[in-house]
């Protein structure tokens, strides 16, 4: 099997979106920078751990090779992951063990952008459906949540990699976490579903607690069992 898989080619190039945080360096005083960074990290312990960073010295900051090295070491000591630098000679970045990015669209200098006020909103992967989902229709929210604000008929099928919300009567099937996310949940305003499933663990309507039918219910996975509870 394995050799067959490799017969087609030794590698594939795939485009993936990953967030890189830009550390904009506004001072050449690395000690001061690290001190302020410690203050920020202490507000949210663990949140920044492993975060990939791109170091971008501001135009007015003259960061020499020694300063850059101290910054990189200081960041690594704080469990951050500086991966690349921009706006400096490639050799200087390489000497600090960093990659060097061309064509990097860096935010304009200035405090307004630095505080992220004019950031464009990130595209959400949540799929929203406002019209009734009819028998025979299938809706799949790929890579995110599914929110339906209209009735879902018997014979219709909702699927999502994440959570499923139905703010109306749910009569069809709802399958959350179809790629295996056991933390996904199903929320519905009125449970009359034929089948609900999370990460492949399913329950048919006849197995559901009669007392919950027709009411607002949240469904989650506990171990290998689906747990239905009134909202």
């Amino acid at each position: 099997m394995l050799s067959e898989n490799h017969a087609g080619g030794a590698f594939e190039l795939k485009g993936r979106m990953a967030t890189l945080t830009v550390l904009q360096v506004l001072t050449a005083d690395i000690d001061e920078l690290l001190k302020q960074l410690d203050g920020r990290l202490s507000q949210a312990p663990g949140f920044f751990t492993g975060m990939p960073l791109v170091i971008a010295p501001s135009a007015s900051v003259a960061l020499d090779a020694a300063g850059l090295q101290r910054l990189v070491d200081g960041l690594r000591a704080r469990e951050l992951v500086p991966v690349a630098a921009v706006d400096m000679p490639a050799e200087q970045a390489a000497s600090a063990g960093l990659g060097w990015l061309r064509n990097f669209e860096r935010p304009a200098d200035g405090s307004a952008t630095e505080r992220g006020k004019s950031k464009s909103p990130a595209a959400s992967t949540t799929r929203i459906v406002t019209t009734p989902v009819r028998s025979g229709q299938q809706i799949y929210a790929h890579g995110g949540d599914l929110v339906v604000t209209a009735p879902v008929s018997a014979g219709a099928e909702l699927m999502a990699d994440g959570h499923i919300h139905v703010y109306a009567n749910l009569r069809g099937r709802a399958l959350a976490g179809v790629q295996g996310d056991g933390n996904a949940r199903i929320f519905c305003q009125s449970l009359n579903a034929e089948l609900v499933a999370i990460a492949g663990h399913y329950q048919l309507s006849e197995q559901m607690d009669r007392g919950l039918q027709g009411g607002p219910v949240v469904i989650q996975l506990q171990g290998a069992d689906l747990q239905l509870s009134a909202l």
């Binding site: 009819r134 025979g136 008929s153």
Partner: protein
């Protein structure tokens, strides 16, 4: 520009052709130039219900194949001014309908009609798909029982996804619900779904409720659209449907159980 109205249901035998005939006759009686097109190729019925089966010479498929022109195939109704029918072929099957052919025929009819009523065959295959594809409005004919309601729901899904308006991202098809063969006393006994149940499941606007009535069978047998039998309950119900469709506000009738003498005495 003519409005194209499809009369559809998914399930067979629920009253699509009866509704098409009555609705078309009602529109024509209200002064609109109307043509009813039978899409049920191979199971031609509309001509029987409208009493013109002896006058069929050319049909829909002949026009599509260029063997006759529209004027030769159209049958003008003798009772109702401004009403025509385009009969289906009885000797062919649904594959004889082509996408381009249907489009050309509908465009030709649109030139000198106000309404084109497309009587869809049962099912969701080619004939039904072509009948709904070019529609601007849809009458969903449903009986108050679960399988009919489920099939109508499926058809509503197709109207919202597999039609010209859906594919071109135009304003969606306007959907109207017509509940036929409604028997309030059987709803009372729990043998049938109620109007409220059906409306709740399908969540579209209710255009009218046609009561279960011997008048429908009698009218079909004598080849008269039941709307022309003005003294009958079904005839009046279809008259309400047409009036509401044309924008008139009318109270829904024939929904509540008729009370017998004792019922009236004791329940007021």
């Amino acid at each position: 520009m003519a409005r194209i109205i499809v009369v559809t249901s998914g399930k067979g035998g629920v009253g699509k052709t009866t509704t098409s005939a009555a609705f078309g006759a009602g529109l024509a009686r209200a002064g609109h130039r109307t043509v009813v097109v039978d899409f049920d190729v191979g199971l031609r019925n509309l001509d029987l219900i409208m009493g013109c089966e002896r006058r069929v010479v050319y049909d829909f498929v002949n026009v599509i194949n260029g063997e006759a022109n529209l004027n030769q195939a159209l049958i003008r109704d003798k009772r109702t001014e401004g009403l025509s029918i385009l009969p289906a072929s009885q000797t062919r099957d649904k594959d004889a309908l082509t996408f381009e052919g249907v489009q050309t025929v509908l465009e030709g009819l649109a030139k000198d009609h106000d309404y084109i009523v497309c009587d869809s065959p049962a099912g969701i295959e080619r004939g039904a798909h072509l009948a709904m594809y070019f529609a601007d409005e849809a009458l969903i004919v449903t009986n108050p029982e679960v399988s009919s309601v489920r099939d109508s729901d499926r058809v509503l899904g197709l109207l919202a996804s597999k039609t010209r308006r859906a594919e071109q991202d135009d304003e969606p098809i306007r959907e109207h619900l017509v509940i036929t063969r409604y028997a309030p006393e059987r709803v009372g006994k729990g043998e049938m779904l109620s109007v409220e149940d059906v409306c709740e499941i399908l969540s579209i606007d209710l255009l009218g409720v046609i009561p279960e009535s011997t008048a429908v069978l009698n009218a079909s047998n004598s080849g008269v659209p039941v709307i022309l039998e003005e003294k009958t309950d079904a005839g009046q119900a279809y008259d309400d449907v047409v009036a509401r469709f044309l924008g008139e506000a009318r109270e829904h009738r024939f929904i509540d159980e008729k009370k017998g003498l004792f019922g009236r005495l004791f329940k007021g």
